[in-house]
């Protein structure tokens, strides 16, 4: 059982085809962690103003208690598709599943 229920958010932009895959992966990892996948907050970022307000550096962006699953490192804010680097070195439109899992676990333990 989860020690606590972190706030999990997925921010997406319609210009990227990765949203469905990101949602599926995130829901699987939430369920595997004992979290209610229905509690996932899914929010569309559709304008430059939205992107500025959300500090959105690309779609999909997954945050757990406000912490990005792959810390932002100078990527410009804007409506774009996010470039993730997987643990095996490949470039991907989705974050590394292991990083998603670890971020969820850290949050459930009360952060790190």
């Amino acid at each position: 059982m989860a020690d606590r229920m972190p706030r999990v958010e997925l921010l997406w932009w319609e210009g990227c085809p990765s949203t469905d895959d990101a949602l599926a992966m995130l829901r699987e990892e939430m369920a595997a962690a004992g979290l209610d996948a229905e509690s996932l907050r899914v929010r569309e970022v559709s304008t430059d103003a939205d992107a500025e307000r959300e500090e959105f550096v690309g779609s999909p962006t997954i945050r757990v208690d406000g912490r990005d699953v792959q810390p932002v490192q100078g990527e410009p804010i804007g409506l774009s598709c996010r470039v993730y680097l997987l643990a095996d070195g490949r470039i991907s439109p989705l974050p590394d599943r292991g990083e998603v899992r670890q971020t969820l676990r850290d949050a459930m333990r009360g952060g790190d």
Binding site: G15, P76, C81, V83, R90, I91
Partner: protein
């Protein structure tokens, strides 16, 4: 977004007349000048374009000896996406070894004329500059073993004077970033 009707398989390709990262103007070959030409819409910041890039580069190297021409085009709005600016394109070319020119479509007229939708978006032309394949390089941007099989299959067919096994597939990638 205003676009021409999509460039369809079987049609003659629209013109292409764009500068590369050094300012040199490139066009499509004259009819009959090359047995096949590949035009790839791509960019610097899209994970799909980056994921497929090495495979496309390898195809260009593998087919270079058979006279196949490759042209890469970046049409993204550099004002809103500075990673796709001409300077950023130059930096990338400087850092990487590309076997084909990287063309800058600043006006976005080429993307509109070709109705390119995403990066990457691939067109294979025959010697007469007729579009014979349009779409993705292969079935999975995350799987290098796919080896750009759809693109290679189309090229092999065109070079053999045959119909490609697939003439069109869904181009998967990041939308072209149109100026607003």
């Amino acid at each position: 977004m205003s676009q021409a009707e999509a460039t369809k398989v079987g049609q003659l390709a629209p013109e292409l007349d764009l500068p590369d990262t050094t300012g040199t103007i490139h066009t499509l070959p004259l009819p009959g000048e090359a047995p096949a030409t590949v035009v790839v819409w791509t960019c610097n910041h899209c994970p799909y374009a980056l994921g497929w890039h090495d495979r496309i580069v390898q195809v260009a190297r593998d087919y270079e000896g058979r006279g196949v021409r490759f042209l890469a085009v970046n049409s993204n709005d550099a004002e809103r996406y500075p990673n796709d600016s001409l300077d950023a394109m130059r930096e990338r070319i400087k850092a990487e070894s590309w076997p084909f020119p990287y063309l800058h479509d600043e006006s976005q007229d080429a993307a509109r004329a070709w109705a390119a939708q995403v990066t990457p978006h691939i067109y294979v032309l025959d010697a007469d500059l007729r579009v014979r394949y349009e779409g993705a390089a292969d079935a999975d941007h995350m799987e290098p073993a796919q080896n750009a099989g759809w693109l290679r299959g189309a090229l092999d067919a065109v070079l053999a004077g045959e119909e490609p096994p697939r003439t069109a597939t869904e181009p998967v990638g990041c939308s072209i970033k149109w100026k607003q």
